[in-house]
Symmetry: C2
Subunit: 211 residues, 2 copies
């Protein structure tokens, strides 16, 4: 038990080191030597946990995705109205990622071009797990008569796809400097999507739905 | 006049060559020598039009964006209902790009990681021009009482952002093989967005809007 905890601690320490070095040197210039020095452990210990620099960086991004999921679950369990929770979750998935990479935004192109293929494959898993959490709130909202859709899972995916172009992966250098602009964009998209998902008043009032 | 025409012809011939070679060799392995041989002109002539391989490839992508715009304008001018035109335009902007790069989908990672930074900057211009065309149809639809929104331009941008994650730039190798899946995703997103933009029946019937 204690050994497992230690293993996780060391992994976390190493990933904290990656996070600092990405800010200081960027992906290409960062070496395993730098990292070992930064964390204060031997290079061998790093290789024990992560076979390569690519794997290190992908694990670092995995950790961002994990932490985001925790936050999304927190919002999902809150007492706000379902549409408000959906709005907050979509803003969180955009801004949490933005904030996580902001200190190395200048080096992000370097990183993202180097691990593009593997990252794209992993993103599919991240998005499916985010869709899990979103679909719970959607289903809850439908049950409460707020939303109107047929498949909660599919609707969650629509929310994910519609906001994915606002993640750091797809942002130009200019866009990566503008947190407020990003937040506004997310809110604009969310507004139209929610309007499309919220049960029509006419229907709630018992009028016939337009065919 | 004739010289201008010739200049455009040669540019087009060279870009046709790039398109074939990207399929055969991919971006990194493609050389200016290969290209000169493929087009049947001297290497010097190519450099006269395009200073570098990066510039060549970006111009090739510019041409795809130009051709897409022509198609979008065609749909914008058609006689279909505004919501149907919007739907077709969004599907076109996703599938036209997919079809344009499909024959070098296997080499796309190579290309997109090499020109990532410049391409992201150019994409902003492409998207603004697509938003131009979309906003005309949106404004027309609002005038006809179909849509309900305050700013046509901003609404056009929302449609662009919401479908941008379906462009080849953001697709994993697996996703790049699935045209039908992409079309379905585009249609699902579009369905919710249009539902959010179409004037509510209740409102049209003169009922009070929900506050």
């Amino acid at each position: 038990m204690r050994q497992v905890a230690q293993r996780e601690d060391i992994r976390d320490l190493i990933l904290d080191g990656v996070d600092s070095l990405l800010g200081r040197f960027g992906f290409r210039k960062m070496t395993m030597e730098d990292l070992a020095r930064e964390v204060g452990i031997g290079k061998g210990t790093i290789y024990l946990h992560f076979p390569s620099k690519e794997e290190l960086t992908l694990s670092h991004i995995d950790r961002i995705a994990e932490r985001l999921l925790t936050n999304l679950r927190g919002i999902a369990c809150s007492s706000a109205a379902p549409e408000e929770r959906i709005r907050r979750m979509l803003v969180e998935r955009v801004l949490f990622r933005f904030d996580s990479v902001y200190h190395y935004a200048q080096n992000l192109n370097d990183l993202l071009s180097s691990i593009r293929r593997d990252l794209l494959a992993r993103r599919e898993t991240y998005f499916e797990r985010e869709a899990d959490v979103l679909s719970q709130v959607l289903a809850e909202g439908r049950k409460a008569g707020v939303f109107d859709f047929s498949d909660a899972r599919e609707t969650a995916r629509i929310l994910i796809w519609s906001t994915n172009s606002l993640l750091p992966f797809s942002l130009s250098a200019r866009e990566l400097g503008r947190r407020e602009e990003l937040e506004e964009r997310t809110l604009s998209i969310t507004r139209v999507l929610l309007r499309g998902l919220i049960r029509r008043t006419a229907y709630r009032r018992g009028l016939k739905r337009p065919s």
